[in-house]
Amino acid sequence: MGIAFPFSAIVGQDEMKLALMIAAVDPKVGGVLAFGDRGAGKSTAVRALAALLPPMSAVVGCPYQCDPADAAAQCAECRTRSKPAGKGKKPAPLKAHQVPVPVIDLPLGATEDRVVGALDLERALAHGEKSFEPGLLARANRGFLYIDEVNLLEDHLVDLLLDVAASGENVVERDGLSIRHPARLVLVGTGNPEEGELRPQLLDRFGLSVEVKTPSDLPTRIEVVKRRDAFETDPAAFVAHWEKDEAKQRKRILAAREHIGSVKVADRELENAARLCMALGTDGLRGELTLMRAARAAAALDGAKAVDDGHLKTVAPMALRHRLRRNPLDDSGSSVRVERALNELFAT
């Protein structure tokens, strides 16, 4: 594995890059789904994101990389350890260290026990002890869980993952174990619709959805191949060359994270968002909520103080296109319909 292709060096694919950055700024946006052609750079972008993200502070020795500063989101053990040992005593501060933000790959053949965690086989066999061995969800806490070919994953696993991602908590009730631990993670799923689609019930549980297309114009294609070739010939030099841009993007994400709490959403924009969703006939309120969250993150990335129409317009397609009630056979429709609704809304 070694070195990942730099995020900033990815040619085009702006929508996917923006969606991933929004998810990095505000994990609550609820996951990113990228569907599109083979060989368009979906996996590359996700893997690149791992290298881009700034490291985070985590409790030493905690299998869930708990944040020492955020007591509410800690696992049971960290919480006990940070509680005052007795009356009048001050709690011993948790030891923390800097770790990279986890971007965990969910391999296609993964079994449920590895995903949610299971009985620790070694200790069960060797000592006859019942103890919990955390799974992938634990390792992805506070980070990203990347599922390539999400459309080929077993349905029950996808259900489980979406459920955990939505609740931010993994509840394990199996092998005689009863455990819950924090699992705040951003799901990133990619896939190729030619090989099978995702159930519609699952579609709208992803926050953002982007369509990825292979660039069809020659100069872009040449640029892609050139950069990729340069990277493969000498990864270290290529990464060094792009380090400046990477640092810039990293700074942008960090600034946006700090800034997002103060980004204002005027009533007018809320109304616009609601109107848009009504015009499109999206089910439930998840559409509006995601749209607002994504717009706020987009504004924060821009360094803006408040969400404006532009932000709404930028994020509306990715936040809404998979929520339209549609004839599932009408594949051309959704993006176009969002565009049309946007134009109608902002024309008046």
Binding site: G39, P107, G109, R114, V115, E122, A124, A126, L218, P328
Partner: protein, 578 residues
């Protein structure tokens, strides 16, 4: 366009390239025989003796492919013992995938991931492991007819060779010695690829209608390796041309547009000739792109146009996991439904807790018997092993057989299409698979092999033309065959036949009466298989013929003289008992 001898020449080069660097993966399409054997022998001779060459059978189990728990060793040691998988073992060597067109989809997915990342990562059986897996992959495609290697895998393989037209007489001696290979291997890191070469290869790939960006990228790598093989460090035109021939030409989805006619992507036969003439006329002084394109064009298989027509059928096998499927007796996936006593067979999932529970009461006795003393080790016997049982809902495949003939009245075809679309949507929500057979003119055609992909379903339905005779018997036979194949895969088929029952074309081209008799025979044969059938009579005024036919095939008969698409779909859903 290319002669067998020329193909063999390129094959020789590909073998040498594959021996130099794992990046030069090969997709070899050829029947098992002396030609293929000679090519493989050659590859073996050229690869350095230190390089491991492993074979990958199509039916490899996942734990052998990726590695997993070595159960016997685990129990003996009292701690998990890992077994390395084939992909990890092949690291640094060459992996030969035999009968690659029949490789299971999950195996293909793992192969693709390993090719992408150069490593494998597994998360199963309570183990998590990452291991390097950088290997050269030689996929042997013995596909007869339209069986092909999965498109996802083919996209990642650099050189595509088709030796099916090469005869033994065409074979020549190898041009390279193993010393060349070693020299090239050492030279490879120093090879320089100029920007013009990248531009030329990308332009060419676009001109040939290759969508994936992996193709030009792989071509760049091949150009590099070819240069090293040549003993040079600067990539020149000959090397680029070689890469274009090996990588780009076989992937072409259209012939490049000629100057006088820009929109020729779907032009029929004559295009081949004009392109050929063009190529002869042109002198070698155009820009690099043009010359590379020419080189690629020369290597485009002569049957490109025919192959493109077969494109749809070509995807068939790739996505349906081989036709040899067998009913899943002990599925390894799905919802766990308890445990049972079982063997340590590969693939079975050990239920640790149940195993330990079974073993626990016996511990004092067994310790005494074995005089194991006070060692805390658990003694587990073979009888204690408990295997998790899984239940998997067997999927349903609905096969739509649509009458697109003239008699079925063109005005109703749209209605039928609408109904099929609605049914497709239903199936989609249920995660059922759908297949589509259309019949008109002289024959029935499998437009859509069983799939869950709506994108494809929609595309094939939209492209369904109407008019012509009614070859009903051919359609029933085709549907029966497909349904049996689906059944053999462990799925439950349902046939929905939409017709007016007025057969007028027999399979041997006979007239109305023969056709009707033959259709009845076909219907009776279908009845014998016991596959549920719904016959939707789509004629404006329902007649006996369709009802008779329905009787012969023990089908439920639904007459829908004035139905709109919605009602039609409702009726079929109700009749199919779902």
């Amino acid at each position: 366009m290319s002669e067998p001898a020329a193909i063999w020449g390129d094959a020789l080069i590909a073998a040498a390239l594959a021996a130099i660097d794992p990046a030069a993966s090969v997709l070899l399409r050829a029947a098992a025989g002396p030609v293929r054997e000679q090519w493989l022998d050659l590859l073996r001779d050229l690869t350095p003796p230190s390089t491991a060459i492993r074979k990958l059978p199509p039916s490899i189990s996942e734990d052998r492919l990726l590695g997993g728990l070595d159960l016997a060793a685990t129990l003996q040691a009292g701690r998990p013992v890992l077994q390395r998988g084939l992909l990890a073992e092949a690291d640094g060597g060459v992996l030969i995938a035999v009968m690659a067109e029949r490789t299971a989809p999950s195996t293909t997915a793992h192969l693709c991931a390993a090719l992408d990342t150069g490593a494998i990562s597994i998360e199963r059986d309570g183990l998590s492991l990452r291991a390097p897996a950088r290997f050269g992959l030689i996929a042997l495609d013995e596909g007869i007819g339209d069986e092909r290697v999965s498109p996802a895998l083919a996209d990642r393989l650099a050189c595509h060779l088709d030796l099916s037209t090469v005869a033994r007489a065409d074979l020549g001696e190898s041009l390279f010695k193993s010393s060349d290979i070693a020299a090239a291997h050492a030279l490879l890191p120093r090879v320089r690829l100029p920007d013009e070469a990248i531009e030329a290869l990308t332009t060419t790939s676009l001109a040939l209608g290759i969508d994936s960006l992996r193709a030009p990228l792989l071509a760049c790598r091949i150009a590099r390796i070819a240069t090293a093989l040549d003993g040079a460090i600067d990539v020149v035109e000959a090397h680029i041309a070689c890469a274009a021939r090996l990588v780009l030409a076989p992937r072409a989805t259209r012939l490049p547009a000629t100057e006088d006619d820009a929109e020729t992507s779907e032009a029929p036969e004559p295009e081949t000739d004009s392109a050929e003439n063009e190529q002869d006329d042109r002198s070698h002084d155009g820009p690099l792109e043009d010359r590379v394109l020419e080189a690629a064009q020369a290597a485009i298989p002569a049957d490109l146009l025919k192959r493109l027509q077969d494109e749809r059928a070509m995807r068939t096998r790739a996505s349906s996991a081989g036709r040899q499927g067998h009913a899943q007796k002990a599925p390894k996936r799905g919802r766990p439904i308890g445990a049972r006593r079982g063997e340590w067979r590969a693939g079975a999932r050990l239920n640790v807790l149940e195993t330990l529970r079974t073993a626990a009461p016996w511990q004092p006795l067994r310790r005494r018997a074995q005089r194991a003393g006070k060692s805390g080790r658990l003694i587990v016997h073979k009888d204690d092993i408990r295997i998790t049982r899984f239940k998997q809902r067997s999927g349903t495949t609905t096969i739509f057989v649509v009458d697109a003939s003239g008699s079925s009245a063109l005005q109703r075809l749209a209605e039928v299409k609408g109904a099929v679309e609605l049914l497709l949507a239903e199936c989609y929500i249920r995660r059922d698979e759908v297949a589509l057979i259309a019949f008109r003119g002289k024959d029935a055609e499998l437009l859509l092999p069983p799939t869950r992909s709506l994108t494809r379903a929609k595309r094939s339905l939209a492209g369904l033309p109407g008019g012509g005779g009614t070859p009903l018997s051919a359609a029933i036979f085709a549907a029966t065959e497909l349904a049996l194949a689906v059944k053999a895969k462990g799925q439950a088929p349902t046939i929905v036949l939409m017709t007016d029952g007025r057969a007028n074309v027999a399979r041997d081209g006979g007239g109305r009466s023969e056709a009707e008799a033959e259709a009845l025979v076909a219907a009776k044969q279908l009845a014998l298989t016991g596959i549920p059938v719904v016959l939707v009579d789509s004629s404006p005024r329902p007649q006996d013929k369709a009802a008779q036919l329905a009787g012969a095939m023990h089908a439920r008969y639904v007459a829908l003289p004035h139905a709109d698409a919605t009602r039609l779909s409702q009726a079929v859903m109700a009749q199919a008992g779902r």
